[in-house]
Symmetry: C2
Subunit: 263 residues, 2 copies
Amino acid sequence: MSTFNLPKSPRSIRGLIRNGELTKPTTGMAPGYVQSNLVILPKDLAFDFLLFCKRNPKPCPVIDVVESGLYEPINTAPGADLRVDVAMYSVFKYGELECEVEDITEYWREDFVSFLIGCSFTFESALIKSGISLKHVENATNVSMYVTNIQTERAGVFRGPMVVTMRPIPRNKVDQAIQITARYPAVHGAPIHVGDPSEIGIKNICKPDFGDPVELIGDEVPVFWACGVTPQVVARSSKPKLMITHSPGYMFITDIKDEDLQK
Amino acid sequence: MSTFNLPKSPRSIRGLIRNGELTKPTTGMAPGYVQSNLVILPKDLAFDFLLFCKRNPKPCPVIDVVESGLYEPINTAPGADLRVDVAMYSVFKYGELECEVEDITEYWREDFVSFLIGCSFTFESALIKSGISLKHVENATNVSMYVTNIQTERAGVFRGPMVVTMRPIPRNKVDQAIQITARYPAVHGAPIHVGDPSEIGIKNICKPDFGDPVELIGDEVPVFWACGVTPQVVARSSKPKLMITHSPGYMFITDIKDEDLQK
């Protein structure tokens, strides 16, 4: 099924995913609706992780928390089921990727707490609407992601470096890109760095740590935003016995509209 | 020692409190510095409580969290000791006030997590500076507080009604009071109600549930703000085996400046 033929409503798309009829990355799906990162942890790690998110709101903007015993995000996607409504999950054991699966029902535990964390897909729509084109969207590739030398603020067992996304922006549109994304603090907000990658510990801009590389051409400036992969990397570093996340690009689609996250 | 003769720095005042030389409510002390509500809970309740605060940011704006094993708020008051630097503590057992003490060292447990929560003392200074006089400050009484019929959003074991403070504001200054306090989301922010007390379930404005009554005269309008007593009341309702808070009016004085909490 091509993205063009897909239904537009989050509920319908989640239904296709739940029935195994849709197993693709969710870029461009349900336009206008918020897609989110997903981190699922046992409750004994939930306080440390929520505090970590509170202390690091740029990489870890929490949109919703689904408490232990529940798997329906009643505030952000009533009727959804976090065990089956994401097209691809990553299952980590003791911090190592064990497998990728399309359904986590067999892994589910009563003490799991689920965190929905903002995703830059939301502000990308706003950038494109304002006439700032984004190469990875045009090329249908994954955004470039890098581990930086910027340390997050520790909380309990969770600590580590911030991960960022990079988008090449023409020099005369950088200010506009900053202004637009600053209006979306719930999806990473304004850039954390503009310009020289080495200033934030990125040695080779052509070799992202995650995602696909993208070329910087002419007067384009590399602009860096805090990234929702940070909580996954940081959570993994604490080597919890079991942690489940969405697989990169396979986001959870909520019923919240993009503009609801605009300040 | 009168308030006029007190040292001005938070650290010096905390030193007097620690040595038992100052056992008064902290209204007016360390002008310009943020005073905070204090809630101390065992770690097994900390996730539910932090989530409750996240879901109810108006009554429960978290300024700092001091993790288990620690009693020094290194981010907001380095060098302070939460076990001895508040002049009067309330110790609750199974939700009932057991006693008030000047030192909680003997109660301290390694698994305690401490929450510093914003206090309206911060925006009161801003109101007064703008020429809006506050009767309870002028009369040196406690602000009037009421339990409302506004339900907080539940998180885990924590749920219950919102508590509000009320300040009489002359009709022609209400808009200004709204604007000023809206700039302080970390200390309850804009009012949650203006005018008729019955609309939020307050039957008798002359009989506050906490604090002292205050008269409404002439064209004064009752203006209601979310109150930092809410988390205490809500936390008490879950009847934790042990919970410790500051005693009303005996706040924890931080090293943060009022303007640091202005947005």
